[in-house]
Amino acid sequence: MTAATLARPMSSSSRDFAGWTTAAQFLFRRNWVRMLVWVLVLAGLIAIVIVSQRQTFPTQADRTAYAAIANTPAVAALTGLPYAAGSLGGILIIKIWMTDAVALAFAVTFLVTRNGRAEEENGRTELLRAGALGRHAYTFANWLLAAIFSIVVGLACAGAAIGEGLPAYGALVMGASFTGVGLAFVGVAALAGQLAQTSRGANGIGIIMIGVAYLVRAAGDLAAKHDVAGGISWVSPIGWGQAMRSFGENNWSPLLLLVGFGVVLCLLALRLESMRDLGAGLLPDRPGPRTASALTQTPIGLTLRLQRWSILGWAIGILVGGLFFGAVATAMSNILTGNSAAATAILGSSKDVVGGLLAYFTMADGLLVGAFVLQSVASVRSEEASGSVELQWSGAISRVRWALSRIVVPAVASLVVLIISGYAEGASYGAAISDPSQAGRFTAIAIAYWPTMLLVIGVVVFLAGWLPRWSLTVSWVLYGLVVLVSMFGELLKLPKSFANDTPFTAIENATTKASFDSLPLIVLAVIAIVLAVLGLLRLRSRDYVAS
């Protein structure tokens, strides 16, 4: 504070930004690979989906027929209102716009936090700012990099669509809508980086805001009149991106809202940065307990203590997800049972469609729980990389017992979270169709995903044992591939035998068959245990490997 008041009268604003170009070059060098991967994946998805949908709907007659039935509550709630389903561009928007937009929001959040709050937390910003860098130079360069990244993603996606022969103007509007959503969330992440004191906290705020934006627009799209979203969508940046209606009316004006939103939040973040000390959040640290409880002194108790907010946050998020999925399924069953025989004729009987949809949702919930498990069990490696195991392993505890304490927590917590997600989905759907037994049924289906969670643990422990330095990167890449194949296997026209046999889709199929097949569950559990044991054996016999 004193430094700020001393410097303020004499420092022009340009001095606060001195050296930002150097900082930008440095940040680009540190991040270009991960940004390039994001650009290739996001633009690649556009190209692949166009190709696959051209095969699915080869003629205009096919597309017109699809347009008649495209506007279902499930589609509206999950991926946004279809408004131009009679054209290839409109189908592209239905299939992939939401995925790309939300993925980009995540990408900029992680990028801004990684180079902002995380750097400040580990002390590197202090080193840089002690050089000839202005107060805001590093943060400004960070946000600018994320903004340019958003623009490049937009251009690449537009380019991919034009390259695949879609109308150029619509493709540009689509690219601009991605860029706009990206810029809006650069602002959110910038602000989060000023409010939170830890990188986890900053990412947490960013993820919650993405979730809220998604759910708000889902509510708007469910409350739509024909193909015009409800007014509440105008509260959500993702809703603004949808309102650009690329390949439809091609409306540029919401882009102003998106850019303005991002800029205003960044300006606010700059104000906050001038007001606070380096390394501090806006809220001062409160004193904590002077002693550790008997529980926290035990290895499992310590794991719980370290992860309690994370576990609670995931549980709440997944509970909300379960309720949301249940509500979507309900809306879906309403239109199918309510009136039109035509809808039933085209979509299939209510029981099949809703059943399939619910199984798909349960799998999506499973993927979410999988991310939670991966993040939790990652501490087996991340605590070693950070060096905090040096003191623990030199205590009277074997490495295997120590690692088991880091494994038991996600193993048990994932079961609890799965039960919550299944129960929420089943109860919200069951309440709507007046069938209370659905809660129990979906709880049982969700529990069937438990062996898959154990497999996630097994893979991470195996890698932490045998490939310590690479284990977390490899684990997350594997997880990302499984998500792609499980969620979009059909869309990407992957071979069925492949897409149906991921640890997640195998369970989905096992639970939708008439007779429940327990073999995949047993196989998964056995593989999980074997991998974990091999990983633990290696962990016990190898050297301590710091980062």
Binding site: E121, Q197, T198, D285, P287, G288, P289, R290, T291, A292, T296, Q297, T298, L302, R305, L306, S386, G387, S388, E390, L391, Q392, W393, S394, G395, A396, I397, S398, S541, R542, D543, Y544
Partner: protein, 305 residues
């Protein structure tokens, strides 16, 4: 293995890929004594300590810790030792007090009375989150946990590198008390005054090999004293004497170092040259250390090789 040695290491080797961290290192700590462990950055001190803690597995040589094998008997041995690393990493969102309790419990039990006593002596506020601690305060957390444990063997890896001089003094006092209670201490340090004050024996290593080891007093005895003298006559006669090194002449003032064995000859020669003021400095550990690591040592090694 003799129980009179708390730590007994001979011919220890360890490689990380192509780089040899340890090339036949010897080190011993007598039970109830304080052993200093010196070497420049990257010479293998922390690697040796991590092998003693069972964090790394030695490639060759033998290491015995409190009569046991540091790798095989790690869990049992760790009940009897406490460790303070040079760079203490704690859990950022736990308080220092919580970290101390967790570490104490990992070594056996939580002795509330002793913890409170050391908290007071090191002037540490245990209610602050670890993330807000400076390097020195994080070290204090590990020091309080280690000292309160009353372990048979204390292993310190540059424990005072972040402490202020006042706290260094507290640390010195605590180590002397530990020794008086019969605890053994292995102290890796760069602070010569600290080692000279505390240590009974010293081991100096270089590039993973022990180059000097023994009782501190004996080591010094082997070395040279530095003499500064103002002469009336010409110092030329000194330069011809055996056992005289590194002469620098600044007008009438002459500074040189001399082997203890040649001292008597040198004094006779000096007396004939009309000395006015003479200052003789005993060899310090710092000189001993720099002699092993300075540029001259490099040259000597090349000649010997």
């Amino acid at each position: 293995m003799s129980e009179s040695l708390a730590v007994d290491v001979t011919g220890l080797t360890k490689s990380f890929g192509p780089s040899h961290a340890l090339n036949g290192l010897d080190l011993s700590v007598a039970t109830g004594s304080v052993a200093g462990f010196l070497g420049p950055n990257g010479s293998g001190k922390s690697t040796t300590i991590r092998i003693l803690l069972g964090l790394l597995k030695a490639d060759g040589g033998t290491a015995t810790l409190l009569g046991g094998d540091p790798w095989r008997d790690a869990v049992e041995l760790h009940k009897r030792l406490a460790y303070v690393p040079g760079d203490v990493t704690l859990w950022p969102n736990l308080t220092g007090g919580q970290a101390i309790d967790i570490l104490s419990r990992l070594h056996g039990h939580v002795d509330r009375k002793r913890i409170d006593e050391y908290l007071q002596r090191f002037d540490l506020d245990p209610s602050k989150k670890s993330r807000s601690y400076s390097k020195g305060n994080r070290q204090k957390v590990a020091l309080v946990a280690a000292l309160a444990s009353q372990a048979e063997l204390l292993i310190f890896d540059e424990p005072t590198s972040g402490l202020d001089p006042l706290m260094e003094g507290v640390f010195t006092q605590c180590v002397l008390e530990a020794k008086a209670q019969g605890q053994s201490v292995l102290l890796s340090s760069h602070i010569f005054a600290e080692v000279e004050k505390l240590c009974d024996t010293v081991t100096i290593i270089r590039q993973g090999r022990t180059v000097e080891a023994g009782v501190l007093a004996d080591l010094r005895h082997l070395q040279r004293a530095t003499i500064t003298v103002s002469l009336e006559g010409s110092p030329a006669a000194l330069e011809r004497l055996g056992g005289v090194h590194d002469i620098t002449i600044d007008g009438a003032r002459v500074t040189f170092s001399v082997d203890d064995s040649s001292m008597s000859d040198v004094l006779k020669t000096l007396a004939a040259l009309g000395p006015r003021a003479l200052v003789s400095e005993p060899p310090s550990l710092e000189e001993l250390f720099l002699r092993h690591y300075g540029a001259t040592a490099n040259e000597n090694e090349k000649v010997n090789a």
